[in-house]
Amino acid sequence: MAEEVKAHITGVVFQVTTKVGDKVAAGDPVIVLESMKMEIPVEAPRAGAIKEIRVREGQTVQEGETVAVLE
């Protein structure tokens, strides 16, 4: 069952730390957002493989926006 990984804050994508196909554990950072001089990881809600990454570095994302999808 696919599951969307959503940004929990508004920020700019600082780093995409995973790629499609990567296996992640629950709590692993999928991407890192930068907001107000802080770097904040967006973590995988559960274990799984990255199916899709929907953002690129430098892009602004809103709170609640899907940044990646887990298999």
């Binding site: 920020g11 700019v12 930068e34 907001s35 107000m36 001089k37």
Partner: protein, 448 residues
Amino acid sequence: MFRTVLVANRGEIARRVLRACRALGLRTVAVYSEADRDAPHVADADRAVLLGPAPARESYLSIERIVAAAREAAADAVHPGYGFLSENWRFAEACGQAGLTFIGPSPDAIRAMGDKPEARRRMAAAGVPIVPGSAAPVADVASAERVSAEVGYPVILKAAAGGGGIGMAKVSTAAELPGAFAVAARRAQSAFASGELYVERYLQAPRHVEVQVFGDTHGSVVHLHERECSIQRRHQKLVEESPAPNLAPGTKRGLTEAAVAGARAIGYVNAGTLEFLVDADGAFYFLEMNTRLQVEHPVTEEVTRLDLVATQLRVAAGEPLPFAQDKVEQRGAAIEVRIYAEDPARNFLPSPGTITRLSLPYGEGIRLESGVVEGSAVSVHYDPLLFKLIARGTDRAQAIERLAQALDACVVEGVKTTLPLLRTVVAHADFRRGQVHTQMLEQGAFHG
């Protein structure tokens, strides 16, 4: 005195500096990014120059664009504020090369104090006590292990080029060191383009007490007393006050003497702050020197009744300090709190957005330094400080009472802020007794 000052900053500090310039009859130039077109600091200045897009490195952190803006607006001096380029020696140097007066210390002083191991060496040589640790950056994990064993665990790893708590890691045991070292080095590399780390003994629950100093080009160096800044989150201050409560007179004397000796040893000119950690026994250790105006400078202004920004301008113009040490009195008490667009209920996560409602207090002994107005957009691109609230009293109890009432009267809607936490701090028995230390917040003293 120069005629036109460009303020290379935004938010409350840009407004504070612009106000001081106007009071001296100087022409003012603001700079702004595309995200800040409607920001209050832009309207405050006689002229405003667009720097570029919202990201700071294309606007407020671009030396080239700021120097070009100064040329375009025929400015003859530049005030850097705090943050951004204020502690970038290359910027100070670029200003000098462009024929602009940099309102701050020399590039050499900025460079020496910005290199933390170098700062420790220089201060130790001047007789200022420093925390036991590595004299130079440690080359690898093995050297970090050797130094840590010498000074004793727990230790703290710090980025040699760093500041603001970024890249710092506490290490409790030798077993934790290799992992913590790798993480801290990586963070330092990404934040400061240098992964160099040094090791220091970690002090348990110390206080953060700092001393404001001022030097002029005529060889005078004075101190403007101390500030207590222990209440912090992520090593960044939330509450600051002067005088520091419950500071033994001997400790206070030691701190101010050490600060003046340190500043004198490096030929320091303009406003600066030496930060110290003070342990439970009153022993104190140099932490770092900030070679710029501090965020919390208003508490010093309120107790000394001196204008630090106006003094910065005068000193940068070559005038002697307008006050001698024995005329710098510390009267009454003043406390500042920082209202950040952060959610204290979610571990201080940033809370960007639009301020839909803003109602700020006023009254006897209350001072506000705000970078926002109702309708302001709070951008993800910049520091989350919205405004500072400063309360002054004839004594600390009165300052606290005024502050508590003023905090209750603050209304900010549209973004989450640190206001609820600050209200809890100011009501807390330990704060009211002046029993504070740097780890209170993370230890959960202000929960609930």
